[in-house]
């Protein structure tokens, strides 16, 4: 075939373009935190200060979260938070008499729970 070199080059380029598009699409999809629908995290808004405000960041299917604050294992505050998929919700806390205590915040979703704390 006279143009076999051209056919080979064009075919390889086309195959690569398709493969790259597929891999790019796969990566974009998989690296989206919402992709697995079961990821959520919580963190203090200011990790270095004594401020106890925290955030729930939701990338999971459940949107109902319950939080409870313990000062040395004694419940001192609690509440509910509705955080939709791909949203964050900051919760401000004002708790007195925290000096020398471990202030633990437990956040519970449908099937899992997470904790963050500061030893003040």
């Amino acid at each position: 075939m006279k143009n076999s070199s051209n056919i080979i080059i064009a075919s390889l380029v086309a195959l690569f373009v398709l493969s790259a598009a597929f891999l790019a699409y796969t990566e974009t999809k998989q690296s989206n935190p919402d992709y697995s629908r079961n990821l959520w995290m919580t963190y203090f808004n200011d990790p270095k200060s004594q401020d106890l405000s925290f955030t729930i960041e939701n990338h999971s299917a459940s949107s109902s979260f319950r939080w409870e604050v313990f000062a040395d294992k004694v419940s001192v505050a609690k509440g509910d938070a509705n955080v939709k998929l791909d949203e964050k919700k900051s919760i401000s806390l004002s708790i007195n008499d925290t000096a020398g205590k471990k202030i633990l915040i437990k956040i519970t979703a449908e099937n899992s729970s997470k904790e963050i704390y500061k030893n003040l």
């Binding site: 790019a24 690296s31 992709y35 995290m41 919580t42 203090f44 270095k48 904790e115 963050i116």
Partner: protein, 676 residues
């Protein structure tokens, strides 16, 4: 969807600008006097030359203190391409034909051959893509390290100094060292990726590094293909041997190192080296065979590119070319003086001397590879100093290159040696000699005037890799034996392809053999071939499995992103390499240094007495509550820790000094207040 499509188009444009355009025009300028290449060769060589051109242009920008940005780079590529085009347009010989002879003969494939080649390429791309979809979310350790340096170029617009800060425990208090030079990285591993990121605007934390490596690996298949065609161009079976080599490297054994596993793992140096090495040998072969100074100059261009990309590959190339030259002279003693004279004439020609002078001036004034400036070459000479450097066993070597491939390669070696000794009249038994010539008559035994390069090149290439990977002590080399063994995949595949086609070709020479004899032979060979193919696909199946961890990677990235927004320049972070997914990518979120965050390395690194001279990074994660662990935190000022929640949170939760400030399913972050 629209941003995704525009980003993808930007990526394709960047790929073409970085990996095709400059090499294309440079090659046009090289082909002034003569049409050297078929279209397929032109395409593959343009790709390789583009890597060289972009590296040189970026290093020049860096040396001239011109910030390396999207537009300075595009402008540099444009000026370079226009200059090359101008040269080719102005000085091109009028006798220069549009179509090379190779296009009409060696690179003109029949309909069935073309269909087979396309099918092999389709399978090669498909199998690699199927594997890479599991690893496409970037998490590989090596790739993370490399992308840090590429991102350094993207962010700062300058050529990076390869330095890192280490923990020092020989002082009291413990301290963090000043930046010290490291020799593990070569600039050519990072420039191309920085260029693509700059031009496309895509982050290095994305699909593009792996997809680019896939492209380089696919071009390696074509590089081997054109090399094999040229290698056996005087053999009636050249096209079949080239197609067989594509089959052996493309669809079967497609995943095992050094192929898709190395792409997914981001083993950049090896992947680029495996493209440049066959291209370098391709040009040396053609230069020696065609006695052409322009081809020799191009061979030296590719050699320079190798040494600016991967010192290990460069080192192996050096040994290979020395053995090729030595073998050529030894096997042609009677014409050795003539050969040396021809080579000298080529070497001291205007194109070769001019480019060699350019390379020397460039290395001395523009950029010297770090392994030379750091005097690291001496570290690879001598007895094995690390585990894994002492040589592979023969069994390990066999499995590294693939058992059936090795078996066929041995058959090829026997055939080649027999051809060689038959030619030299060294076969004592004339009946053996006659029988052999009958079966391998298509081998086109060349006359004494032309050295048997088609035997010398692949055998020397394999011999060097075999000796260095199995018996490194013979030449006192201290480099990773397994890595070197992986390189042997390519010459072994070429030899296996040769054996496959030569044994199949016996049928033609054996027309007068009895049908029973032929049927028996063919049945045995069909069984062996079936075993060969089944092994190749079984190997793919065995390597296909990847523990899919995109969510764990995403968790690491989210935590790193959060921490990067919370840490000030005085805060210092520790992380963990043992149990955290994609930990080497964390540093890219901070860009505060190659060793930031400090991390707990694999445990053997602390015991081998070479890699880690301190144990602070171990103690701060494994035993933070011990006096030694606490001292490390205090002395070094480490106040943030990022660990795997399931394996390493307990020791921090028991310690009252730490606050747990971030929590997800897989990652937790701790803060240690009052650490100063």
């Amino acid at each position: 969807m629209f941003p995704f499509i525009t980003q993808l188009i930007a990526f394709y444009v960047a790929l073409a600008l970085v990996l095709l355009v400059p090499g294309y025009f440079l090659l046009k300028a090289i082909e002034l006097k003569k049409t050297y290449f078929s279209k397929l060769e032109f395409f593959v060589v343009s790709f390789g030359l583009s890597i060289f051109s972009v590296d040189i242009l970026m290093l020049l920008l860096g040396a001239l203190k011109i910030p390396i940005t999207r537009w300075s780079l595009v402008l540099a590529i444009a000026i370079f391409s226009v200059a090359c085009f101008g040269i080719s347009h102005k000085f091109k010989s009028t006798k220069n034909k549009k179509e090379s002879d190779a296009d009409k003969q060696l690179f003109s494939f029949g309909k069935n051959q073309t269909t087979l080649i396309l099918l092999l390429l389709l399978l090669s791309v498909f199998i690699r893509t199927a594997y890479l979809q599991s690893t496409i979310v970037p998490s590989a350790t090596d790739l993370g390290h490399h992308m840090f340096w590429s991102n350094m170029i993207v962010q700062n617009g300058i050529i990076p100094n390869y330095q890192q800060q280490n923990v020092i425990t020989t002082t009291n208090p413990y301290s963090i060292s000043a930046p010290i030079n490291i020799s593990d990285f070569i600039i050519g591993e990072h420039l191309v990726f920085a260029a693509i990121s700059l031009i496309s605007g895509i982050s290095v934390i994305s699909y593009f590094p792996i997809v680019t490596l896939l492209l380089i690996n696919l071009m390696t298949l074509l590089a081997i293909f054109i090399f094999v065609l040229r290698l056996f161009e005087n053999d009636g079976q050249a096209k079949n041997i080239a197609a067989a080599s594509l089959f052996i490297l493309g669809p079967i054994f497609a995943i095992a190192p050094p192929q898709a596993k190395f792409i997914g793992g981001g083993v950049i140096g090896n992947i680029i080296g495996n493209l440049l090495l066959p291209l370098t040998l391709y040009f040396f072969l053609r230069a020696m065979r065609e006695k052409d100074k322009v081809l020799l100059m191009t061979a030296i261009i590719f050699s320079m590119s190798l040494f600016y990309t991967h010192h290990l590959t460069g080192f192996l190339f050096l040994f290979t070319i020395i053995l090729i030259i030595f073998s050529t002279l030894i096997s042609n003693l009677r014409s050795a003086r003539l050969l040396l004279g021809e080579w000298m004439r080529m070497f001291f020609s205007l194109p070769v001397v001019t480019f060699s002078a350019f390379a020397a001036i460039f290395a001395l004034t523009v950029y010297t590879p770090t392994y030379i400036t750091n005097k690291a070459v001496s570290t690879v000479v001598g007895s094995a100093s690390k585990s894994g450097h002492g040589g592979l066993s023969l069994t390990d070597f066999k499995f590294t290159v693939g058992e059936p491939r090795m078996m066929l390669a041995i058959v090829a070696i026997l055939i080649m040696l027999a051809i060689f000794f038959s030619k030299k009249g060294l076969v004592i038994l004339s009946s053996v000699k006659q029988g052999f010539r009958k079966y391998f008559s298509s081998a086109n035994i060349q006359g004494l005037s032309q050295p048997a390069y088609h035997l010398i090149f692949p055998l020397s290439w394999l011999a060097v890799l075999f000796i260095i990977s199995v018996y490194p002590s013979i030449i006192r080399i201290d480099i990773p034996s397994g890595r070197v063994g992986n390189y042997a995949t390519y010459p072994v595949a070429i030899l296996a392809a040769y054996a496959l086609i030569k044994v199949l070709a016996i049928k033609r020479a054996d027309d007068d053999a009895s049908p029973i004899k032929y049927r028996f032979f063919f049945s045995v060979f069909a069984l062996l071939f079936a075993y060969f193919v089944a092994s190749g696909f079984y190997d793919n199946g065995q390597n296909m499995y990847v523990a899919a961890t995109p969510q764990k990677t995403v968790e690491t990235f989210r935590a790193a992103d959060w921490l990067s927004g919370k840490l000030s320049t005085s805060d210092i972070l520790m992380s963990d390499h043992i149990n955290m997914t994609a930990d080497t990518w964390v540093k890219i979120f901070f860009m505060r240094g190659y060793n930031f965050p400090f991390y707990r390395a694999n445990l053997d690194r602390y015991d081998n007495g070479i890699d880690r001279q301190e144990k602070c990074t171990l103690n701060m994660i494994s035993t933070p509550s011990t006096a030694e662990g606490a001292k490390c935190f205090i002395d070094l000022g480490v106040n943030f820790v990022m660990v795997n929640k399931k394996t390493d949170s307990a020791q921090f939760q028991k310690n009252f000094s730490f606050w747990q400030v971030y929590s997800s399913d897989d990652i937790e972050a701790y803060y240690r207040p009052n650490s100063n």
